[in-house]
Symmetry: C3
Subunit: 208 residues, 3 copies
């Protein structure tokens, strides 16, 4: 293996930004799909395509990490950051896949609301990740992380509210099984965004 001490033509920040870009793209498509109530095989293809591109950049980042001796931050933090940004896109893919398997049709207003919060959160994650390039943007990064944490709390309350409603009003247990899982997945997606924000924050602390 060839180690690069000063990898000149390589920049982790470019890869981080490319990766978080796919997360934004996926969250945007997700909101569109559920807002139109058109989750089908074609939507799944679309999300799959984004997921493959995101996977590819994640692999390139990990590969580069294994070949680089000096990294801008702690190696483990880079690894966690890349893995967790990947998890965002994976989770969106999981939800869309589940909706296709469960043959969910039509618009569910709770899920539309969730998808908006998810897109907002992923956009805040993008601000945090982009701000890491320049430690002068430290305050902006910190603000973005606070916003991601806030939206995770919003997601918790939404999940509790919609689950309580589901268990009270839905009399078909099969529908309860399906929607319980979709709502829980949506909330998990916000947890994953929070995990990314936590890594970014911990990188910030160590650089301070």
């Amino acid at each position: 293996m060839i180690f690069n001490f000063f990898p000149k033509d390589f920049n982790f920040f470019d890869l981080f930004e490319e990766q978080v870009g796919y997360a934004v793209h996926a969250s945007h498509s997700f909101r569109e799909l559920v807002s139109r109530g058109t989750v089908n095989e074609a939507s799944l293809e679309k999300i799959h395509a984004i997921e493959h591109q995101a996977d590819d950049v994640a692999h390139r980042a990990i590969d580069q990490l294994n070949r680089t001796f000096i990294t801008p931050f702690d190696r483990e933090d880079i690894h966690t950051l890349v893995t967790e940004m990947d998890d965002i896109v994976d989770m969106i893919n999981t939800i869309v896949n589940r909706m296709v398997v469960y043959k969910i049709v039509g618009i569910n207003k709770n899920l539309v609301e969730f998808s908006s919060v998810i897109e907002e959160s992923v956009l805040a994650v993008e601000r945090a990740v982009k701000g890491m390039r320049n430690m002068k943007h430290c305050a902006a990064v910190s603000d973005a992380c606070v916003e991601v944490n806030r939206l995770e709390n919003v997601g918790d309350s939404m999940r509790d509210k919609v689950l309580a409603e589901l268990f009270e009003t839905e009399k078909n247990p099969i529908e309860v099984i399906k929607w319980k899982e979709i709502y829980e997945d949506a909330e998990t997606l916000l947890d994953i965004c929070e995990d990314v924000a936590h890594v970014v924050e911990s990188i910030l602390v160590k650089q301070a």
Copy 2:
């Protein structure tokens, strides 16, 4: 960042003990709540309050870890220990929250039994964590860890027994969904206690 080589006014053991104290407090409140059959918004507030205090001490410990050069044990072990002690309180909060969302009322004797085993296990975790301060207490720590492992096995059997019973006797699928999850969470709580015991044991081995 200022690294402390010999952090004089700081003691990881104090934080570990404070943190495990919150876990004990939460498990005690949990047993009381389910024994009285009074899980409601007020109970959730109570557990939330404990969770916030536990979170706070966990953050202080991680923060200190990031600022301390010489630690009593392996950095990663400290990180895992703090994170997993935090998971105990989080999981108790998750169960109580779920019971409120599912509008569970009244006393369920299986859950009461589970809550007793959980409290016993968390008390054994406390003995293990407190014993780490002085390696002369090595045998007592080891005994406490064995006890946590034993209670995890007890929990496995309880879960299997109560789930088998649930699937055989409960005819309402919505109730099956609710209770299956609560019982599984209760067992997961005992798994988390076992995870804490494993970290303590692995720290012990390395110090031996």
Copy 3:
């Protein structure tokens, strides 16, 4: 603690092979059990016995890891490899246990198909792990890992197909709950095999 710089009478590869052997044994027993439709307390005993032997070798490997200064690979990679090989046997145990708790009787052709794919995947994992002993077998290891990844994709499609079928045709919600979980566990088992393949691949990259 006594550190061994050059542990002469110790070989990590022997332990890895012993451990993966138990995974193969468990996956073989699992396929046999579900093919005969005879999952009962006796089958559980059988899988339990394999699990205990697998646990034992995993503990010996971790113990040795803690006592060895120079290891053939990155310490963390060895730890992950051992833990994830252990997860294979644990997951088979979990599925069989669940089937006993749910009192599943008779042959389910979807699960039989899953169990075949699982056995194939574990056999490919075994080829990968055995090949690590000699870096001359690098290509064979790589091929085996590709095969594990392929079978994970096969498992994803199978899960989606059988879940879609389950939600469309099974009118008893209790049966939906039971089988949804068993199918998902079966697919998770293939994910775990893929995790093992990923560690092996990452070890390979670092050795290259």
